[in-house]
Amino acid sequence: MNLVYPLAHLMGGVILLCAFSMLSQRRLSAMITLYQVQALTLSAAAFWQGFAQGAGDLYLTGLITLVIKAILLPIGMRQIVQRFSMIRAVETTMPIGLSMILGVGLIGIAVLVVLPTTVSAVSLTREDLAISLSVVLLGLLVMTVRRHAIAQVIGFLSTENGLVLAATGMPGMPFVAELSVALLVLLAFLVVGVFLFRIREHFDTLDLVGIEEIERRGR
């Protein structure tokens, strides 16, 4: 029996589920755990695609994902959370139920947009693409409904996971994209790390309410 489709879809489904549950989590540590599970599944998906397509590049992508996204980044974020004792629940800009309804709507849009436009493509790619677009949109939604800087960063990282998932599903895509995505995450984390510490110094809190200060002072 051919396992390529069922397994790839299963892993795509787990990634989507993680992205979706991030919307419902109030605690930062839970969001980080979800992100970690998502990244682990993503690296497994990359290995599986590499095996199925016989592409050596994808093994490398899987390895990068595993080491940087599933191990190093969560450790770093947990340290930040502990160091600034931000264990408490984080604020959301809208009720969790509402944001989950919006999330379901976004998944629906992603499926409705992708499936009819990709009739000519291979069916694995089609469904992979629909799932990854949903993950991208859900990540963006997490970034909008959370006020907390780290929660926004996690949303952003989840978006990146969706992009890598799409890239692994593309048949024969040159390695440029994967490499640069991995690079982006690393660099992004460096930049963000710098920011977080400095924001902490200046605002006393990582809550981004202070960002409206520019508005008040008059441009």
Binding site: V119, T125, L129, M170, A188, V191, F195, I214, R219
Partner: protein, 484 residues
């Protein structure tokens, strides 16, 4: 020999060295030396365009030379910026600052010369990261806010653009096969009618919003005024203006793919309506927000949004002449805007400090009482941005307006309204800024020799628009004809 490679990679390789060693004066000098070399190389590229993954097509050549030139004048005026010592940074941050200048320069050139949609994306990403670091350098609360906003919005834009890039690959892959050709602009253009039209349309939406974020089109413009208002001026304004061109050119190239696919019966939608809408939205929003700005850097940040909008509008109108107008607009605007920011920097330095926060219109007013030359130059730059004759922008805006009337008469009404409102909002500031009452205790001071660079920019902007040399005219017409 492919001269594009050293032009792109020399600055990128020099950046770590500049970031690790040297005093701030040595950093500034190294910056100038690198820019002289790169400017020479960008001119050399016109004779040796090279081939392969990184090579210069006609469009890349023109904007490559522009980038080299503006980079050089910015580096020269950066010397006086560094010497004046107004911007208080630690030695480590000065090193980072100069390194980031090189990274932005190299990434901009990579974005112009890359014949691969993946590399183009990497270039935009690299420049965004470097610029974000630059904005955050002063470490004041407002600088960090601006950098955070830039990082989040830019990051989202980059993510959307990558998704679009992958969709383009997917649309091309059945026709061009797996591998690099399906990501090369050259190969994509040659086989454009064989691409999957509906996928290409979906990709274009993502690319438009992704690169549109970098080009600061409304509603994705939020980061730009804040980023322009903070950080060391030469990096965050003068060099960032060059990045707008990369994003606009990316939009132009993808628009061409869509349009050609539509005309060849590939099933893509016509891209015009998307671009016209975003362009008009940018123009009109700027028209109504300009008059309320009190900080000059923020004010002219909004004016950059306006001009991005006009260029995208021109691309949306379509046809060789309108695209020629749009490209001319980008050329002239880049020259004028970098001249303006250099003039602002010198003006603010005459008033005490060129650090962010000293650019309020009330603080800079009556510049002619501080120095006549700088005052007139500043007035000239601001006036030129209105697009009234004899500004170079008049020529490009005239072409765009007349083409709009010919091809899409109805949208010419909001276009005209937006142009007039923006011009009025800008011109209101010329009088007080140049001739108004200066703040008390203003003394007449000398302007440095570097102020002549601003005149050079103004003369070039005038010359390109009204007495365009034949080779440039030939190149630009070829480009516009090929990308219509």
């Amino acid at each position: 020999m492919n001269l594009c490679l050293p032009a792109v990679f020399l600055p990128l390789l020099a950046a770590p060295a500049i970031g690790a060693f040297g005093t701030r004066a040595q950093g500034a000098i190294a910056n100038v030396v690198m820019n002289v070399i790169v400017f020479g190389l960008t001119i050399g590229v016109c004779f040796e365009p090279g081939s392969g993954l990184i090579h210069a097509d006609d469009l890349g050549m023109i904007f490559g030379v522009l980038t080299g030139f503006v980079g050089l004048t910015t580096a020269l005026s950066n010397i006086s910026f560094v010497w004046s010592g107004n911007e208080v940074l630690s030695l480590r941050r000065w090193r980072v600052y100069h390194a980031m200048c090189q990274v932005v320069l190299g990434s901009t050139l990579l974005g112009l010369y890359a014949d691969n949609i993946g590399l183009l994306w990497v270039a935009v990403e690299g420049a965004t990261i470097a610029a974000t670091l630059g904005v955050s350098l002063p470490r004041t609360a407002s600088a960090l806010e601006a950098a955070w906003k830039y990082f989040i919005l830019g990051g989202v834009g980059i993510a959307l653009a990558l998704f679009g890039t992958m969709l383009v690959y997917l649309a091309a892959q059945p026709a061009l096969g797996p591998g690099l050709p399906a990501m090369s602009f050259l190969a994509l253009t040659q086989h454009v009618t064989k691409l999957d039209g509906s996928l290409l349309t979906l990709a274009f939406v993502f690319l438009l919003f992704g690169y549109g974020t970098k080009a600061a089109l409304v509603p994705l413009h939020g980061w730009l005024p804040d980023a322009y208002a903070e950080g060391p001026l030469p990096l965050t304004t003068a060099l960032s203006t060059l990045m707008l061109n990369v994003a606009l050119i990316a939009i132009l190239r993808f628009r061409h793919l869509m349009q050609a696919n539509f005309e060849g019966g590939g099933g893509a939608l016509q891209p015009g309506a998307f671009l016209l809408t975003l362009g008009l939205a940018s123009l009109l929003l700027t028209a109504f927000s300009l008059s309320r700005r009190r900080d000059a850097r923020r004010f002219f940040g909004f004016s950059s949004i306006e001009h991005s909008g006009i260029a995208v509008f021109a691309f949306g109108v379509g046809g060789a002449a309108a695209i020629f107008g749009g490209l001319l607009h980008m050329l002239v605007h880049t020259l004028l805007k970098s001249a303006l920011f250099q003039a602002l920097m010198r003006g603010a330095a005459l008033r005490g400090s060129a650090a962010p926060g000293n650019y309020g219109f009330s603080h800079l007013r009556g510049m002619i009482h501080s120095n006549k030359y700088i005052g007139w130059l500043l007035g000239g730059c601001v006036f030129a941005l209105t697009g009234l004759p004899p500004s170079g922008l008049f020529a490009s805006e005239f072409i765009i307006v007349s083409q709009t009337i010919q091809r899409d008469p109805y949208v010419s009404l909001p276009l005209g309204l937006g142009l007039v409102l923006c011009a009025v909002a800008i011109i209101r500031n010329v009088g007080p800024l140049v001739f108004g009452h200066a703040p008390p205790h203003t003394k007449h001071q000398k302007s440095g020799i570097g102020a002549n660079l601003i005149s050079l920019h103004l003369v070039l902007a005038f010359g390109i628009a009204f007495t365009m040399p034949w080779f440039l005219l030939h190149l630009l017409s070829t480009v516009a004809g090929a990308l219509q």
